[in-house]
């Protein structure tokens, strides 16, 4: 089992996300995370999704996605050089004895405090999944009240994508 980060350019139309998600649930594939937003061209959206599976399953996922009429292009970023970011908003309990410590962690991880209350900080953190896991590990003992996080978004490093192998044009 391996993580695969797949980036899809799709028609920006109602129902397209549902086709993508329905394919995963209908065929018993995994979705670890999923992010969708419009691209510079308002007629297309980019979906970044992270999925788990062995090579054969990943291959089948890519082929099936490519087969969807609304999928314009598919890039499998796995095994290529790519930039990968997630974001989280963490509302952490901030009792007076912990306030300085939390701010030190924020500083070390280059996060931002985006909201302050008498007994909490809300911290904005971006980074890879590892970084988010690390800071959460440190903040948990103080008491994390709430957390909201995105899935991964990713782009290839070289400004040109490696075309997914075997994904092939749809039929």
């Amino acid at each position: 089992m391996k993580k695969h980060t797949i980036s899809l350019l799709v028609d920006n139309e109602p129902g397209v996300l549902s086709r993508v998600v329905g394919l995963f649930s209908g065929r018993g594939f995994n979705i670890e995370s999923l992010c969708v937003a419009e691209t510079l061209d308002p007629s297309t959206s980019r979906i970044t999704l992270v999925t788990l599976g062995d090579d054969a399953i990943a291959e089948q996922i890519k082929k099936q996605l490519n087969k969807l009429i609304n999928v314009i292009k598919l890039y499998d970023l796995t095994g290529t050089e790519f930039v990968n970011r997630e974001m989280a908003l963490i509302k952490v309990r901030a009792q007076s004895e912990h306030r300085a410590e939390i701010l030190r962690i924020v500083d070390i991880f280059r996060c931002k405090v985006v909201d302050v209350g008498p007994d909490h900080y809300t911290i904005e953190v971006t980074g890879t999944a590892d970084k988010l896991a690390a800071i959460l590990g440190l903040l948990k003992p103080m008491g994390v009240k709430e957390i909201a996080r995105t899935g991964a978004i990713a782009l290839s490093r070289e400004g040109r994508h490696k075309k997914s192998q075997g994904g092939g044009p749809n039929s």
Partner: protein
């Protein structure tokens, strides 16, 4: 440039697409479309249930080799087509289903006869659309037909809100659509073709395995040439029957769960398997790990998702079967790859041995054997009828004992296995081919699932013939219960059925019944020679089983035999 109503635009595009028949059923939100339809010369066949309309469009598409069209209302009209869509999707049959929808303003309000049919059918259509503006109708309908018939064909649904069909827009005919995100691969990769040739050159015990894709791409001639060049035996999936002549000396019979002994044994022994337009469905492979264990596999299919999905292959060839086969035939010639009868002698001797030891057989007794009925039907029609089937034992006996010579003559719900398919599909096939003899081989269970379509056949004077192999059981499930559930026949005894011959008469068709073997031929003769639709009810041996049988999950070579 004209301004037309949505309903008029729909008719204009249907005409452009060459549609001559629609199978449909009206309802509140599609009155405008039916109103326009009645003003055109497009024939409308009023079915008695929308599932019948979808299956009829399927049967029409297969017999004709074109796109079948179906028009139904919103809500229940639309949901009733779902089985038909799913069946066409599994078997890659090009149909376009037009469904009415409540006015756009009401969508999402739980309006009367509203259902999210686009949501419901997303996983069982090749693609579907909800049209929100009259201006989009031409583009969407053109795309729908284009998607349905190109690449790996399949069903497309277009949902048409009432106000969209009533609104007006300019009508400009559009050329064949070009879609950035949809571009099927027809031309196979040259290097993969060469790799295939290299494997073919070395093979001593090759087997060609042909499927529905060969029929869909019109590649049967190319397949025959290919088989002749290789001097290789040919087997087929259920969907591939008719892609290679069923009486040819190179023919092995069908493969799989109820395939012939020699076909299944040949898969177990071959050193090269060439799958063409197939998808290695579980009914064909049996236990995947034991499938073609000694073989390198070449797989030709237009759908890349079919390749290495169930069976890992040595040489994948993505492309149209017809194009791929003609290129392979050309390469074989250019590179002078030739085989003689002598090359293949040991292989064919082995096959002959299998054929002799375990042929398809049944024991004739004093009850009618269902196989006997199909065999006689085959003889009396000289193998020239279009055969549709229901699902279950009737379907398997039809596949085993009717030897199909040509493509588009065997119309069955293969992938979905949808009972109730045969009669409406026969109606569709008869509309497509008015001069052919069309016979539905049915069981007493499945014929009751869409028997109401007999009224459609009578109304439109469609002389379809229904041969019921009546064992008063849901026979295939009963067979499993007999073999694997110690004869506990839970819920499969169906003695409470109408007298089908009387029922046929009530519908205005000819009804015949046979209970003894000597009545089989006269009954078939009378039914087949009568001018109109007929039901022939054959009371067959109640506990006859379909053999050979590969139990679910067993290897192909582990067959139960008579």
């Amino acid at each position: 440039m004209k301004t037309l109503t949505g309903a008029q635009i729909i008719m204009a595009v249907l005409k452009e697409e060459g549609v001559d028949t629609i199978f449909g059923y009206p309802g509140g939100v599609v009155i405008d479309i039916f109103d326009e339809l009645a003003r055109t010369d497009i024939k409308h066949i009023l079915v008695r249930h929308e599932q019948g309309a979808a299956h009829a469009a399927d049967g029409y598409a297969r017999a004709k080799g074109g796109v079948g069209v179906c028009l139904v209302t919103s809500g229940p009209g639309a949901t009733n087509t779902v089985s038909g869509l799913a069946s066409a999707y599994m078997d890659s049959i090009p149909i376009v289903v037009l469904t009415g929808q409540v006015p756009t303003k009401l969508i999402g309000n739980d309006a009367f006869q509203e259902v999210d049919i686009v949501g419901i059918t997303r996983p069982c259509t090749k693609h579907n659309y909800l049209v929100k503006r009259t201006e989009d109708l031409v583009r969407v309908l053109k795309e729908a037909f284009h998607i349905a018939r190109s690449g790996r064909p399949g069903p497309v649904l277009v949902d048409l809100p009432k106000d969209v069909t009533q609104g007006k827009a300019r009508y400009d005919p559009l050329p064949e659509p070009r879609m950035a995100s949809y571009n099927p691969t027809y031309k196979p990769h040259v290097r993969q073709l060469q790799r295939a040739i290299d494997l073919i050159r070395q093979a001593e015990k090759p087997v060609i395995f042909s499927g529905g894709g060969v029929i869909l791409s019109g590649a049967t001639k190319e397949l025959t040439l290919f088989a002749r060049a290789l001097k290789a035996p040919v087997t087929a999936s259920l969907m591939g029957l008719g892609s290679f002549p069923g009486t040819d000396p190179q023919w092995l019979g069908m493969l799989g769960m109820h395939g012939t002994y020699r076909a299944n044994m040949a898969i177990g022994a071959c050193d090269l398997l060439i799958g063409i337009g197939v998808r290695f469905d579980d009914r064909v492979t049996g236990k995947v790990e034991a499938f073609a264990p000694h073989a390198k596999i070449i797989h030709i299919d237009i759908d890349p998702t079919s390749i290495s999905k169930n069976i890992p292959v040595t040489v994948p060839i993505v492309g149209d079967c017809k194009t791929a086969l003609s290129q392979l035939n050309r390469l074989l010639k250019e590179q002078k790859v030739k085989f003689t009868q002598k090359n293949r002698k040991p292989w064919f001797e082995q096959i002959e041995k299998w054929k002799k030891t375990k042929p398809l057989r049944y024991d004739q007794q004093d009850t009618i054997k269902p196989q006997y009925v199909v065999e006689k039907l085959y003889e009396m029609t000289k193998g020239k009828a279009i055969i549709t089937t229901e699902v279950g034992q009737n379907q398997m006996w039809a596949a085993q004992y009717y030897h199909f010579e040509r493509p588009n003559c065997f119309i069955t719900s293969g992938g979905l296995g949808c009972m109730g398919f045969g009669l409406p599909a026969a109606i569709g096939a008869q509309v497509a081919c008015p001069d052919r003899l069309v016979v539905d081989i049915a069981g007493d269970g499945s014929i009751q699932m869409n028997i109401q379509e007999l009224a459609t056949a009578v109304q439109y004077r469609l002389p379809v013939k229904v041969v019921i192999l009546n064992n008063r059981y849901l026979g295939m499930v009963r067979q499993w219960q007999q073999l694997f559930y110690e004869r506990r026949y839970a819920a499969t005894d169906m003695q409470y059925a109408p007298d089908f011959s009387k029922l046929a008469e009530a519908y205005g068709a000819l009804g015949l019944k046979a209970t003894k073997p000597e009545e089989v031929v006269p009954t078939l003769k009378q039914g087949l020679e009568s001018p109109g639709p007929a039901i022939m009810d054959f009371w067959v041996d109640r506990e006859e089983c379909v053999y050979p049988m590969v139990p679910a999950g067993a290897a192909l070579t582990e067959m139960l035999l008579v």
